[in-house]
Amino acid sequence: MGEKTQLRIFLSLPSTMQLIYLLDTVISDILREMNFDEETQEHVNLAVIEAGTNAIKHGNKEDTNKTATFEFLIEDDKLTIVVTDEGSGFQREDVANPLEPENLLKSSGRGLFLMEACMDEVIYEAEGTIVKMVKYKQSPNL
């Protein structure tokens, strides 16, 4: 039953942006090890940094006593990343679309959009304090 490879890596960070580079190297290493093509590596890397930044900044408000956690589930055909924070969440539909003309020149508000553009699936759970993202080895829509 289910002899597929499944490796679970778990990382927990105190909520300071100073440590975002650690998340960057961990996801970079995982993506390289999984042999994703270079463009996909860049996309997933970006999505993870955006999700991590949101967890640390918006979720945990950079309180170093709160942790942001990152679960990386490596399977033969896909990588699943679950990011959690200890904040009070948000409603996805309340966030403005950064591609609307009136928002194009805003200096923020592009993180969720980029996550969704870069990953195959992005699911918000527990009021947005859990973000689950999936990237397939062969993108299903290609």
Partner: protein
């Protein structure tokens, strides 16, 4: 993360090295804001040389969009020099292609201001 500031005539050139990600972007924002402030309402002409920037996230993008907006307010202009594939595709995704002029040589970028 390293940012080098140069002037060529009335043009300000920022050579940026490293990833424009997370806290790194604050340094860039401060330097740009400083230049705008020093111009004291006069138009600023700025080249952001991104040749040595591998990666940029939405914070990095936010800094250059903010620079674009406030520099335009005084009839100045920001252009991008030597952007790689990653950053090009980020700008395309964010629908900012029409906003940022991009050049492959410093000479072209400078000429674009005159």
């Amino acid at each position: 993360m390293q940012i080098n500031l140069r002037h060529k005539g009335s043009v300000t050139i920022l050579d940026i090295e490293g990833n424009l990600v997370g806290p790194n972007t604050i340094a860039l924002k401060n330097i740009i804001d400083n230049q705008i402030q020093e111009a004291n309402g006069e138009p600023v002409f700025m080249i952001l040389n991104l040749e040595r920037v591998q990666m940029m996230d939405s914070s990095g993008l936010g800094v250059i969009v903010a620079a674009y907006a406030s520099i335009r307010r005084n009839n100045g202009r920001v252009v991008l020099l030597n952007i790689g594939g990653n950053i090009r595709s980020l700008i395309v995704m964010a629908k900012l292609v029409t906003i940022f002029d991009r050049y492959d040589t410093e000479a072209e970028a400078i000429a674009s201001f005159f």
